[in-house]
Amino acid sequence: MSFNNLDTLYRQVIMDHYKNPRNKGILDNGNLTVDMNNPTCGDRIRLTMNVDGGVVKDAKFEGEGCSISMSSASMMTQAVKGKDIDTALKLSSIFSEMMQGNEYDEDIDLGDIEALQGVSKFPARIKCATLAWKAMEKGLKETK
């Protein structure tokens, strides 16, 4: 395999999120905290969200992990900010379909997240990409 194949995984936008993560840290006014680990590899994330009136007002993450898991966390927080719970959960299920290489609703603009599509070709890395999304899903489902 050449670097070209790797390029489908390590897209420029992913590396940008990894090097310059958005929404990194712990929310001072967070009312929802989720800790999640990937026990097979040791990646971990702490996601704090401020959820008010059924809307994710703010989200931040902190954690340790590879380029895929950390960039995915960065993109996820960016995507759910300002979304209502149902929309955030919908995004999560679209993301999950995308990771499994399935068809998903292409009417929804995923922005940077689309760059993670290549991960579906690297089965060993799918769990890296989904960690932050699972944390978000777990937190929001608890509020329902």
């Binding site: 395999m1 050449s2 670097f3 194949n5 790797l6 995984l9 390590y10 420029q12 590396m15 090097k19 097979t40 590899c41 040791g42 990646d43 971990r44 340790e64 992990g65 590879c66 380029s67 895929i68 898991s69 690297f122 060993a124 890395r125 890296c128």
Partner: protein, 409 residues
């Protein structure tokens, strides 16, 4: 020994992965299997598959002979004094859990101490955490030296008259360190404690003599030493095993079953409840034959040579951090490392794209990762079928990984 010739005996190694010849550097996770082991397992299923220790038919007798024959091979392999001391289990984890659930739970009380080290694999940590919770015993950790080795002074300072169990790995699956088990066992015994050895990374790579080590228990797995998965061994001194209760009850392990009471078979079978892992044990026997045909001393020397070569070649890469002793003399064929700020998962993915298999993650040793102050590392581990060319490819792959990530960042 000639590793190039040995490599040919492993059919799996003759293939391309992602378009490049496979370079398998993950034997510490599980070793590959030589054709002789694969054929021996297949022969059991093709020619004499039967249950053991029951029935009088011919195939049943053959299966029993081969299963018990494998036990004798294990006995010789680890230099145990009798087959009563050799119990087949599912693997190292089951072996240590059996010691914890049977011996430790029955003999420990409030205030007793269990001593392990910071380098232990989870399978030699969690069973003791559980025993400590169940009995009120205290779990104590041996500190490590700067280079990841254990100092006997620390052992003397940590093991006390209250210590009842000392449980240490023989060879570290992360640092590659070979621990001074014989000396640690002596200190344990001076304090009245029993010595448990996690031998998972030792049995495949060096000559094990349980009587010379004078350990009380020794646990190891078949799959890391060219044998099948799902088979392992628990060695225990006879007088300890005799006084221990079985952990699993059912068929195979009983002497006489009354309505409300039962009695157990003699050693070692009282610890082998249910139909045993027959094909696994026969496969392990074949793996022992294979390793002995090459010679454990030869294998150990080959791995030392590879470790020395890898240490030299890898430390030349800019941004490389290697964990554990800097000298190959204290090491088995395990090199754990990080490559500047490239995450180990990313290192492993880039290497995999060139057919090079390494492990990335915490290696089932989270307490050690905390001690090293890292969340994850990459690991290359070598075995008798690896060559210096494999290490050259690893080094080339690592240089390439570094270039690739310096471009994308």
């Amino acid at each position: 020994m000639n590793a190039h010739e040995i490599k040919k005996l492993f059919p799996i190694l003759d293939q391309n992965v992602n378009g490049s010849p496979l370079v398998y550097l993950d034997s510490a996770a599980t070793s590959q299997k030589p054709i002789s082991v694969i054929e021996e397992v297949s022969k059991y299923y093709r020619e004499y598959n039967s249950n053991v220790h029951r029935g009088v038919h011919t195939l049943g007798t053959m299966a029993t002979d081969r299963y018990e024959g494998a036990r004798e091979k294990v006995r010789k392999f680890i230099h145990a004094s009798s087959i009563e001391e050799v119990i087949f289990t599912r693997g190292t984890t089951t072996s240590i859990n059996t010691i914890a659930a049977s011996y430790a739970r029955a003999s420990l009380k409030q205030g007793d101490e269990i001593v392990i080290s910071y380098m232990e694999h989870h399978s030699n940590v969690i069973p003791w955490q559980q025993v400590a919770k169940q009995t009120g015993a205290v779990l104590k950790y041996l500190p490590l030296q700067e280079d990841g080795t254990i100092s006997l002074d620390d052992v003397r300072n940590t093991v006390t008259g209250n210590t009842k169990i000392v449980s240490i790995m023989y060879v570290s699956n992360v640092l590659g360190v070979i621990n001074p088990i014989k000396d640690i066992a002596r200190i344990a015994h001076e304090n009245g404690a029993v010595m448990v050895v996690d031998g998972a990374q030792a049995a495949p790579h060096l000559k094990v003599d349980v009587q010379d080590l004078d350990c009380d228990f020794f646990a190891f797995s078949g799959h890391k030493m060219c044998g099948p998965t799902g088979i392992g061994v628990l060695y225990g001194k006879k007088q300890l095993l005799e006084n221990m209760e079985p952990v699993e009850f059912g068929g195979e392990m009983i002497d006489f079953v009354d309505q409300y009471e039962s009695t157990w078979k003699e050693l070692p079978w009282k610890f082998e409840g249910g139909t045993p892992i027959i094909a696994g044990a026969i496969g392990l026997g074949a793996a022992i034959d294979f390793l002995e045909s090459i010679g454990l001393d030869e294998i150990e020397a080959h791995e030392h040579k590879l470790a020395a070569y890898a240490l030299e070649q890898m430390s030349g890469i800019d941004g490389m951090t290697i964990y554990g002793p800097k000298s190959a003399a204290q090491r088995a064929g395990v090199i754990t490392f990080n490559l500047s700020d490239v995450h180990p998962h990313d290192v492993a993915t880039v290497l995999d794209a060139d057919g090079i298999a390494v492990r990335a993650g915490h290696h089932c040793a989270q307490p050690l990762m905390r001690w090293l102050k890292v969340s994850a590392t990459a690991r290359a581990s070598f075995y008798l079928y690896n060559t210096e060319e494999d290490i050259d490819k690893l080094v080339q792959g690592l240089v390439k990984t570094k270039e690739y990530f310096s471009n994308v960042f």
